[in-house]
């Protein structure tokens, strides 16, 4: 029996299963943003170094060996020893851990505070917003380094102090960014729709606003970690950072009041290189992440939204018609 060729043959539609958010993000990162992937790789290495420092480092964190101080590279000490005879490479690995702890903790506090202040201010609006804005503006008029130095100098020196200070000062500054993001989201109709059906403000904030600024907060978080590590190392360099015994890359660059630097510049070179590499990786990763996640960079036709390859393809298909 011949089938009428005009009869529609039902084709089984199979919708391609979409990958989860993280997997999709990861794949896009690797495929489209090679720089970001390199950054991610560096960050992961640093992470491992920090977490498994105890197992990776050949020597202990505070293992002093005054007889062998200030030695150059040797088979026992790949990067030499510092002014107290501690193995330089172990110091750098432990320094990774310190930077990691401070960076992540301080930035978490930063994010929480800037969200609380910024989102509440933007969401409640009106007079509260005005007053909070004034305060933040005034806060921003004093350079962050000056504030940090002043506060850290007075409080007792400890890691907790540094983390809290970095977190809170950063948080107040970051509130402004969160606030503008929340305003941007507030413009969308789903927020007013939620309001119309009687959603309580806290619920709207958590359920509607937060997920939509999450991308921007993630970007802010990654960049914030870099900033926190940089700030802490700056403080340590000026001698206002952690207690003297704890290995911090910034303190190592300052190490021994710069008197040993003339004779043995490696003591400043290696921690500085480690610091630069870490922050570099974090920034690259954050940059790639922002290219992928920032909703304002989506879309657009024309040369500037397509890669070279896709543009050629597009031109080819257009030329065929």
């Amino acid at each position: 029996m011949t089938t009428n060729s005009n009869e529609a043959v039902p084709v089984k539609q199979v919708e391609k299963k979409r990958d989860g958010f993280m997997k999709d993000l990861f794949r896009r990162m690797i495929r489209e943003k090679p720089l970001g992937t390199i950054g991610l790789g560096i960050v992961i290495i640093m992470f491992f170094a920090g977490i498994f420092a105890n197992w990776i480092a050949p020597y202990g964190m505070k293992q002093i060996d005054l007889i062998n101080r200030l030695q150059g590279s040797s088979p026992q000490h790949w990067l030499g020893t510092d002014q107290l005879g501690r193995d330089e490479m172990s110091q750098i690995i432990f320094g990774a851990r310190i930077s990691l702890i401070i960076g992540i903790s301080a930035t978490t506090i930063h994010m929480v505070i800037s969200f609380l202040i910024g989102a509440t201010s933007a969401f409640v609006g009106g007079k509260t917003d005005l007053i909070v804005q004034r305060f933040i503006d005034v806060w921003m008029t004093i350079p962050q380094m000056a504030i940090l130095l002043t506060i850290v100098n007075i409080l007792p020196r400890s890691m907790l102090t540094i983390i809290m200070v970095l977190g809170i000062t950063g948080g107040i500054g970051g509130a402004r960014g969160v606030r503008s993001n929340v305003f941007w989201v507030k413009g969308y109709p789903y927020v007013s729709a939620a309001d119309a059906i009687g959603s309580k403000r806290m619920r709207t904030l958590m359920v509607h606003v937060l997920p939509n600024i999450m991308s921007l907060m993630i970007i802010g978080f990654t960049i914030g970690i870099g900033g926190a590590i940089m700030a802490e190392s700056g403080l340590s360099f000026l001698g206002m950072g952690l207690e003297p015994g704890i290995p911090s890359w910034g303190a190592m660059i300052n190490g021994g009041g710069q008197q040993y630097l003339q004779t043995m510049p490696q003591l400043a070179l290696y921690p500085g290189a480690a610091l630069s590499l870490t922050i570099y990786g974090i920034n690259m990763f954050g940059d790639g992440l922002r290219d992928l996640l920032d909703p304002r960079l989506r879309g657009g036709i024309g040369r500037y939204a397509l890669s070279d390859k896709k543009l050629k393809q597009l031109k080819a298909t257009l030329a065929k018609e």
Partner: protein, 320 residues
């Protein structure tokens, strides 16, 4: 434009007052009694006898409530221009600060200019050639500059030439009016190091802004009209992207002021940052408050300037 300028200018005194309050309270309200700290420091320095708390408090003006202290401090500054005396040397603070501001100012200015001159073209080019090899190289270069801590570069710049060529930074500061060339040659290196700090952020910002701008509809129109890339970028896109850049520089300058603290330390420049560090070391609170206040005032003036420029550049505000 006139109304806008007036409105902005009126906000200044309010911000200055609030900033001065913040600066004042910053030192006063942080846990740790100043008198105890002074006593501890005296004990550490060898003066073992206990000091008369009441006398010290009276001398420091701490025996009155906080708001009275603030009122005295503020009125003294506004009416007499007297920012107090150093706790350590008993010399008046104001002339010292006045002497040091031009140095820090010059450093920050040079750093800003150098940073902008390098960063803006790079950001522009990077956006025009997004995701090409050039873009990657330029972008990683910019991020590298931003990631390398300024004090490390500064320390290396001071360190290695001294090892290789026996060169050291001049010990004594060369003032501008005495020897302009010498002064500039002395300042150029710290300015470049400091400028590189701002370059990375500016490149990224410029690139992002250009990318955003180039996705706008009017750019698409220009393309379809058949305009060349050069005209589109320079005449249409860049002008619109520059406006937020100008605003962004308002945020970069406080960072440069903070960074100058480190630069002055490394390159031995007698600027405000050095004074601040020395004061912090010596727990010299009047100086700390005074410098914080000066920095705040500088930044507020800077913000005003930026806002004015923004108002002048942005046609939407221009015609209000």
């Amino acid at each position: 434009m006139g109304a806008y300028a007036v409105r902005r200018a009126l906000l200044i005194p309010v911000t200055v007052i609030l900033a001065s309050m913040l600066v004042f309270l910053l030192v006063r309200f942080i846990p740790g009694d100043i008198v105890d700290l002074i006593q501890a420091q005296m004990a550490a320095n060898g003066g073992g006898d206990t000091i008369d708390r009441a006398a010290v408090e009276k001398a420091l003006g701490l025996d009155v409530p906080v708001y009275v202290q603030y009122a005295r401090w503020a009125s003294r500054i506004v009416l007499h221009g007297n920012m107090g005396v150093s706790l350590r040397t008993n010399l008046p603070i104001t002339p010292e600060i006045m002497r040091r501001i031009p140095i820090t100012f010059e450093l920050s200015l040079m750093a800003t200019v150098i940073g902008a001159v390098i960063a803006i073209p790079i950001g522009l080019y990077s956006a025009m050639r997004q995701d090409t090899i050039t873009d990657y190289i330029l972008r990683s270069g910019a991020i590298l500059l931003m990631s390398v801590p300024s004090f490390w570069i500064g320390a290396m710049v001071v360190l290695y030439p001294s090892i290789w060529w026996g060169w050291t930074p001049p010990m004594e500061y060369i003032y501008f009016n005495k020897d302009p060339i010498g002064n500039l040659s002395m300042m150029i290196i710290p300015a470049m190091v400091l400028g590189s700090m701002g370059t990375g952020g500016t490149v990224r910002m410029m690139r992002t802004l250009m990318l955003e701008t180039l996705r706008q509809d009017y750019i698409r129109t220009a393309w379809s009209k058949g305009l060349t890339e050069r005209i589109i970028v320079f005449r249409h896109a860049m002008k619109n992207a520059m406006i937020p850049i100008v605003t962004m520089y308002g945020g970069v300058i406080p960072g440069l002021l903070g960074g100058s603290v480190i630069m002055e330390q490394i390159f031995n420049l007698p600027g405000m940052g050095r004074l601040m560090l020395d004061a912090l070391q010596n727990r010299d609170y009047p100086i700390i408050s005074a410098i914080n206040l000066m920095m705040a005032i500088i930044i507020i003036c800077n913000n005003l300037l930026i806002d004015m420029t923004y108002g002048w550049l942005d046609p939407r505000i221009h015609f209000q």
